[in-house]
Structure formats: structure tokens, C-alpha cells
Amino acid sequence: MIVFSNLEKKLGAFRLSIQQLEVRRGEYLVILGPSGAGKTVLLLTVAGLLRPDAGEIFFNGLNVTRLAPHKRDVGLVFQEADLFPHLNVVENIGFGKKYRRRKAKEITRRMELLIDMLSIRHLLSRRIDGLSGGEKQRVAVARALAIAPAIFLLDEPLGLLDQNTREELRTELRKIHDELGTTTLHVTHDRNEAFVVADRVAILNEGRLAQVGTKDEILKRPASEFVARFIGVQNIFSAFAEQDDSGNAFLRVGDARFRVSCEGRGNVRFCIAPEAISIHREMPSGVTPEELIAGVVKCLEDRGAVVRVIVNCSLGDAVVFCGKREFLDEGLSCSTPVWLHLGAAAIHVFPQTDAALSGKSQ
């Protein structure tokens, strides 16, 4: 549906550079990244409001790189809703009708549909300045989708809403997408929002794609340390990768050794989910002693059903989630010496280092 090819855009010191990215027809793609990553620039380039310095954008195989914004058939929603203050709600929603005379009937029908889907029928004759933030954003969504755009662009649409409205509206955005099937590009810096609504997520950092993939792909196998940190992975450590004579790959941390599947050699970074680490007072039996790491409990945080334990060990500070019952059975407290057992299967070695990221991204 949308294909970016070697796209380059320079704005002051910032440089957006997208080698290759394809958004499939009917897909909900979220562009996730910290502020200043170039998410909005990318979106504005799709909308035609910024012209790229180099590279091409294709919609359905058609090169639109130099097409004026009003001919691109995209619906756009900004963070601040940006409704036209001199028009009322229904005039706002119907703004695009004038420019699509041939489709006027279809647009009217679609408007009715959207008004019901977003439950804004009671607002239709209201003035804009009387609406709440959530209502404004609903109207903005209806306005953008009323023209039946081929592509729906959302730039931090929930950024200024309060927590409850935000959660409500993001569910609705997903629902609307499921019903209408419009190819959607949604920009956000909120990883929860991204993983709730998206079919696929593209993580952008400093103008470059860090990883593109589904929620599971990204959460389980972050492509780099940056991605891991950005999506909230806590246990990120250094290790030394080596191979034995039969070609099996191992990670060595101090005396411990973990069997992993990775190709590299030398110093690597890896991450492991807190759930995959178990904690023991006595050296546990029935596990390979090589997979044990000794440490000292640094602090405890009781979260009800589970206890978040931070253990200082040769890896650094490891975060472990420990069930309440195990916690009581083990009788853990601060400064207790413990053994950590790392499930080797859950270890994920980052395929790219962040320095090597530039140049080849997906």
C-alpha cells in the first residue's frame, strides 16, 4: 500500500532516513519512538506537507513523492485535534465533501456511519470551543475518515487527553479500523498505546528505523539495546559469546555459561525477561550449576501478588519477579545472599549493536 524507498529529509541538524518500509493494505502500523525521532516528519512526508530531499513514496504502486497534499487522499489527525473554530461540528466533519462532488452521496452515508461509531451525534450543531478534549479528537477522527481516505494518518492523537479518555479512544480507534479497514499510520511515543492498537509497530530512533515487527516479535526479540530499553525491558546485561568445538554457542558471564543460539563472538549485550529468572536461598538441585549466578538482594518492592526483587550480581542489578508464596517460603530480605537461575531459552542476544544500527535497518 505505502512503500518508502530510500527516503531522506533534512531539517536543520535532524536527518530522517528510511531505507525501506512497506505498509500493507488495511494494516494498522504504529510508528513508535522517543520525541525527536522524526515520527512526525515521516507522517508529514506521507501527507505531502513536507517534501523529501531524496527518495520516493509509493501509494499502491503510484509514485506520489511530488503530489500536492490535497490530491493524495489521506485523512490527517493532529495531537490538538485542530478543528476549524469558525465552523460547527457537522460543518467540520463535512469539510471535505465540497472537494469530492462525485462521491458526495457516499460521503454523506459515511459521515452518518462515523457519527454513530464515534457516538458524537449529540454534538453535531455545537460550536468547537465548547467541546472537551476527547470530543474534539472524536470529531477530528470523523472529519478525517469522512472523506474515505486511502490512508489514515494520526499524529499523537491521544497525547493531550487524560488517562481514561485516552484508553477509551484508543480502543475505539482500533475498533473503527477493524470495521473500515483503512490503512492507518499512527505516530506515538507511548509504547502501551502502540502495542494495544497496532498490527505492526515500527520503532524509529534518530531518524532511522530501529525495528519493524509485530508486538510479539518486538517484545520477545528486540533488535537492539535501544529498542529493548525503549519498550521497557529491564534486564539488559553484557556477556561474552563463544562457541565450543561442536559449534554450540554459549554466553559466558563470570563462571556461569548459558547455551544460546547466536552467531556472534566476543562481547555482546543480551536481555532476559524478569519472569524467566528464578531466585533461591540454597543452591537448587536439578539444574546445571553453570546456569546459576550468585548475588545479594538489594531491595524489595511488594506489589501484592508478586514481589519485585532487585538482586546485585555479577551481571549488574537484575530485576526478578518472585511469587508471593515463593517469596515467603524462601524468606528473602535485604542483603540476603541468593542464587539466580537464568532460563537459557529466554535469553535474547541483540543481533545489532546500536552503533552498527546505522546503515542496515530492516
Binding site: 501527507a47 485542530d82 481516505p149
Partner: protein, 405 residues
Amino acid sequence: MRFRRSDFFAFGGLIVLLHSLLLVGELRGLRFRLDHFSNVALFFTNLYFVYSGYVVSTIVRKVRFLFYPFGYGALLFIFFLRNPDWRPLFFPLAIVYCSIFRLPAAVGLFSIFVLSHIFAQPHPWAAFLVVGSVFSVAYIVHRRAYGLLHVAFMVFGLAAFGLLLFPIVCFVLLDSPQTILETFAQSEVALAMKTSLISATLCTVVVLLFGVPLAYAIARTNFRGKSFLETVIDLPILIPQSAVGVAFLWVVGSKGILGSVVNVPGTLLGVVLAQMFVSAPFLIKSAIASFESVPPHLESVARSLGAPAFGTFWRVSLPLAARGIFIGCILTWSRAISEVGSVAILAYHPMTASVLVFTRSTQAGIEQARPVAIVLVLTCLWVFVGLHFVRSVAFKKFVTRSDQQ
């Protein structure tokens, strides 16, 4: 508020008591006598005093209510009993006093007004202005609505500005409508007014036609030298008017370098040209500011919805900037109609009203110029008020950005 029957009796009793006390005083042959008119007027004033006191007593606190009869008594004593000459003044003052008693600030200003007229002769207005300003500041600060600095700046600024406007107010009010109508009837004056109105309007329309697109372009672009361009637009305000007239004459006068192509002296075109030069910056600057306050995102959204660049300008930017542009129009129109220097040099005829006032004041004297000036001021005032009314009705102020976020 509901009246009970006992209230009526209480009213009646009070009035009769009050009035008979005064009458008794008169009958006892004290220092003053009441004529029939004063008697009746006094009765009704007392009636109003008691009625208004009843209303006030339901609103204000008890302690303050005790001051109500006290103030009335003071007025009565000063204006009615002590100075029989001032008696006609007593009735309106008493009625105003009773009406405003529940507003403490108004009562304060009222007392300052009265006292300054009694004690600060022969400059009662000046005294009122000064003491009243100080009182207002003190009062507002006491109520803690705003800080001392803002209130003091506001009040003293307004007081000074009031002094500036004072001559115009006197000027307009202190002439009989008869004189003004007669002045209007003079063909010379009527013609000059007509020329003024037509040329100023024409000038505004022309500036509107080229100024608004220019302003939009400036507001939506960013290039090296943009601030220089904006300074250039301000330039006409800074050049002395007489110099403007001479410069134009040199170029498009009968012997000017373009004189054989366009010859403007003595034509309406000349008048409009001179007026445009001095007044265009007002509209353009105001339009630039208005367009800049329209969020660019609104235009982006309009473009994405299918509106071409001009459609976006016409349906989004222009309506949102309309209010500011209209204010610019009012400024430009006012500046155009008041222009004398350059118009008189470039195109003395057809004579505009401003030029006529100037000519008469230098040749025939102030007395000849005054009625024309009054007519001009009144016309401008009416147009000004009318346009501002149109603005408030037709051009709403839009909140383009939500400030609370």
C-alpha cells in the same frame, strides 16, 4: 421580593414623618422657605429614599446600612438646607445616591465627586480625577482582585488618556446641533465630506485587495530578509507627510517624471494615492498578525481534506483572520480620512474635509474651522462606532489554540 401590608404602613409612616419634620422646620420660620415645586420634589425624593432603603436593607449588611440615612442626611444638609441656591442639584444627586448605595465603589466615587465639587473649587474636575484615581486603586487593591502595579498602571494611564480625550468630548458636546446642521448644509462642507468618505473608502478597498494577499504570503513564508521587508512596510508611517506629498508630486505631478503618463494632482486618484501611502501599513501589519495567529496545522488539515491552496486560504485562513483584518480596515480608513499633509500637497482639490478644516483654520480662523471639524469628528465617530458594532456582530473571536493544555 415580596411586600407585606405592614411594609406599606412602615413606608407611609416613615415618609410622612420625614416630610413633616422638614415642613415643621419651614413653618417654624427657620432660615429657609420651601416653594411649591421643591415641596413636591422633596416629597417624591423622600419616597424614593425610603423605598430604595427598603431594597438596600435586604441586600447589604446591617452596619453598612446605617450609613445609608447618614449619607442622605449629609446631601440634604449641604445641598438643601445650607445652600438654597443648590437646591435643584439636590434632587438628581439624591436619586443617584439612593440608586447606587449598594455598590460601595460607586458610593465612594460619588462622595469624592460631590466633595470635590464643594471643596475643590475652582478645579473640581481635576480634583475628582486625582482623588478618584487614588480611591479606585486603593479600592481594587483592597478587594485583592488584581495587584497594586497593574491597577495603578491602568488607573493612572486611563486618567491621563481621559485628559487627552477631554478636548474632543467638550468640542463635540458644547456646540448646538443647530450650528452643526447649518454647517452640513453648506455645499462646500457637504462636498468635502463626500470626497473624504469616498476617498477613504476607496483607499481602504484598494489596500485590502493587495494588502491581504501580501500579508498572507509574508505570514506563511520564512526567508532571509523577511524582517527587513516588514520594516519596509512600516516605513510610510515614519516618513513625514509633507515629504510624501512632495515625493509623489515629483513623480506623478503635472511636471513629474511620469507626469506625461499619469497626472494625479487635482484628481480623486491623487487624494487616494496620498491616503493609501500613509494608511496601508496599518491594514497590512494587522493582517500579518492575524494570519500568523492562525495555526498552520489547520491549513494542513484542510489540505489533507482535499482543499487546494487557494481553497484553504479562502475557507480557513481568511475567515479566521477576518476579525483582525477588519480591525486593520478600520484603522486604515481612520488614518486615510484624517490625512492632511500629503493630500494637501499632492491633490489639494478635490478638497477633503480634513484639508478643509486645515485651510479654514489657517485662512479664516478657528471659529470658521470649528463647525467643520465637529462635523468631521462626529461623522468619523459614527462610522467608527458603527464599524466596531459590525465587527462585534459579524466577526467573532475564535479560540484557535486551547490555552489550558
